[in-house]
Amino acid sequence: MEQTMSEHDEKLTKLNRVLEQYAGKPGALIPVLHEAQKIYGYLPEEVQYHISQGLGVPLADVYGVVTFYALFTMTPRAEHNIAVCMGTACYVKGAGQLVEKIGGELGLKFGEISEDRRFGLEATRCIGACGMAPVLTVNEEVHGRLNADQMGELLEKYKNTH
């Protein structure tokens, strides 16, 4: 418990530093939310409240912005986040089959995370790696030129890493 408290304090200190840095700058909300999500992994209500106080922006506006943009999330992320590109090039080259296969193996649908929070599955907008279609990213790593048969092996690799 003690450790989680110190972790909590550490994150809060980081966030406060970000807030100081952007204080008084016009249009600071979105950059601050990006930084906050880097620190916390997601943007729970408490964090939004803190940002609203820190920047002097109404909480309703903060919430409005968070829910408007797809990259901001209010739910915690999984350890390994699998994002399948659903851009046109990937779509016509069979991204749907990758999703079916991964979804089947992990029992997940788009937007869900597994109970143990190890895997999350989401659709992502075109990441511009169309030359390697179909592609997916696990965390920040891009995997390209895939077919459904390779999915088992790929998942296995991440099942064994933390």
Partner: protein, 595 residues
């Protein structure tokens, strides 16, 4: 110190996902170990455009291009080429159709027909080193402008060059600059729109990754011309590498005194700030982008007032796309006449296209305006793989439309594409073959725009949803002939009544597929058949008796036991049981099972 050889390793997103970072590190390690570090220099560059064959690399001075290079190949390349002066044949480019092997990058068809202006430095320089940009006349255009030209002269050069906005709208760039200059106001801004959201388009990403300084330099020139001292680059957060390189480029330019105060010993000052998007397609629309930089939900505003009159924080704002800007230093240095010499009467210069989908050489190309679609697809793109037939090319992404096979000889220009019911768009070009269902493709784009509609105006928010529902009905076999008329009526209504470009163009994929492929829609609603076999609920999977080799592999893989027949017997699929998962099609080695 001079090096006798250079190894250029592509570090664009696609090649990085093929482990080009590791390949580069291996080269550096092995060259050091062999004591060749002094003679051979390894440079990481931006995108060559040849993404289909990534990771790619070029060895200079020979100009040898190697494709799909793996870490294991590094030793052999050093041994054979660097030390032995021979090429490693198995890694050279091999034409997928003719099997012909080409050694030098300049001899490969993919590169031969290209004219690289916006992409002039991509694949040639290390984007993380400002000195390499300067060595190729980087920042010379800014220096020239500050020393020799008045702002009006700069604007005139652009007007004469005929450059039009490359982000999709095609508005004359010089005119836009002039309008912003003439707008009254002390404070003005320059914005670079790098919120490239069209699925299948990656031109801007490649320019930012391969040549970020060209964009920064052009923004400073724009600042001088319109009277602004601050600029913003609004870039998608999803483009991690581009963001990284831009950050480095801005700080290097500041260190060298090429951004900031007193540029080139004049009174002119200009600085640039980076702003990240947060995953909203609508922010590519200029007024929505401005609202987003201001820290709000990225909802568009009605025009007029145009950004040139009242943009960011109500000030006159010039907003240009990445590719448009990347052309500008080259235009200043080489002259308006030079640039206008490329292209056609009404569409001057070149255009970068990202070609993807069912095409041999996916990647990034820059071609003169007026080239035909056929040349792009067959001469540069290498044609359609697996012996399939070209069906359509989609340009302009979710805002554009498709071009069918009988228009393959269309000349690629702003106006000809509009006439054909499509648009230039930002340059995404997705090729579809006869295994793609056009109704399904239209549905795919509608899902996209419906999801990305910001919700501010009703025609777009509700209209796209209704259109999508109709398309879902049609692809699931519940459509009627009346639905087709309803789609057309709704589509035209949404186009006319929506507030911004997103809504005004959202029905285009449906309307253009209806224009050229209405028979496919009719097959879906009247005959309840999907001719391409894509829409699962409308397709039927069958085994061709003459081709069945009676092995039984299909029956074993079928998850619902829908395939009857013991070994040594021609198999048959029970259509009532079949769930059309397609696993048997993949399993059959003899291609005897067809949709």
């Amino acid at each position: 110190m001079s090096h006798s050889s250079h190894i250029l390793v592509c570090r664009g997103t696609a090649c990085v996902s093929g482990e080009s970072r590791e390949v580069q590190a291996e080269f550096e390690k092995q060259l050091q170990e062999r004591g060749l570090g002094e003679q051979v220099r390894v440079v990481h560059t931006g995108c060559f455009g040849f993404c289909a064959r990534g990771p790619v690399m070029v060895i200079l001075p020979q100009g040898t291009m190697y494709c799909e290079v793996r870490v294991e190949d590094v030793g052999e390349i050093i041994e054979k080429q660097i030390l032995g002066g021979q090429t490693v044949e198995r890694l050279l480019f091999k034409d997928p159709v003719t099997q012909e092997v080409t050694e030098k990058i300049d001899d490969i068809d993919f590169f031969k027909k290209q004219v690289r202006i916006a992409l002039r430095n991509c694949g040639h320089i290390n984007p993380d080193d400002i000195r390499e940009y300067i060595a190729r006349d980087g920042y010379k255009a800014l220096g020239t402008v500050l020393a020799k030209h008045s702002p009006e002269e700069v604007i005139n050069i652009l007007k004469k060059s005929g450059l039009r906005g490359r982000g999709g709208g095609g508005f004359p760039t010089g005119l836009k600059w002039e309008l912003t200059r003439k707008s009254p106001g002390e404070v003005k801004y320059v914005i670079c729109n790098a919120d490239e959201g069209d699925p299948g388009a990656f031109m801007d990403r490649s320019i930012l990754e391969g040549d970020p300084h060209s964009v920064l330099e052009a923004m400073a020139i724009a600042g001088y011309a319109i009277g602004a001292d601050r600029g913003f680059v609004y870039v998608r957060a999803e483009y991690a590498i581009a963001v990284e390189r831009l950050t480095t480029a801005i700080s290097q330019a500041r260190e060298m005194g090429l951004l900031g105060k007193g540029l080139f010993e004049t009174d002119f000052e200009f600085d640039i700030e980076l702003r990240l998007g947060a995953g909203a397609f609508v922010c590519g629309e200029e007024t929505a982008l401005i609202t987003s930089i201001e820290g709000n939900r990225g909802e568009p505003r009605p025009k007029p007032p145009f950004p040139a009159q009242a943009g960011l924080w109500g000030r006159p704002t010039l907003i240009n796309n990445v590719e448009t800007l990347a052309n500008i230093p080259a235009i200043i240095l080489n002259g308006a006449e030079w640039y206008a010499g490329f292209g056609t009467e009404k569409s001057k210069g070149t255009k970068v296209f990202a070609i993807a989908g069912k095409i041999g050489n996916t990647g990034l190309i820059e071609v003169p305006m007026g080239i035909t679609l056929r040349e792009i697809i067959y001469d540069i793109g290498g044609g359609i793989p697996e012996g399939r037939k070209f069906k359509a090319a989609q340009t302009g992404g979710p805002s554009g439309g498709c071009i069918p096979a009988d228009l393959l000889d269309i000349s690629i220009e702003y106006d000809t594409l509009l006439e054909a019911g499509s648009m230039m768009g930002s340059g995404g070009l997705i090729v579809m073959d006869d295994s793609d269902c056009m109704v399904d493709i239209a549905k795919f784009y509608l899902e996209f725009t419906c999801d990305e509609s910001c919700g501010k105006c009703t025609p777009c928010r509700v209209g796209t949803k209704r259109m999508l529902e109709i398309l879902e009905r049609i692809t699931e076999g519940r459509g009627t002939v009346e639905d087709i008329d309803l789609l057309k009526e709704l589509g035209h209504g949404i186009k006319e009544a929506s507030l911004c470009g997103l809504g005004q163009s959202a029905p285009n994929p449906v309307l253009s597929t209806l224009k050229y492929f209405e028979d496919e829609y009719i097959a879906h609603v009247r005959d309840k058949v999907c001719p391409a076999g894509v829409c699962k609920k409308l397709s039927r999977i069958r085994i061709v008796p003459e081709e069945c080799k009676k092995c039984g592999a299909c029956a074993r893989v079928c998850p619902v036991d829908a395939i009857k027949g013991s070994p040594k017997e021609v198999h048959e699929i029970d259509p009532d049981k079949c769930i059309k998962c397609g696993q048997c099609i993949e399993k059959c080695c003899f291609k005897a099972i067809k949709r």
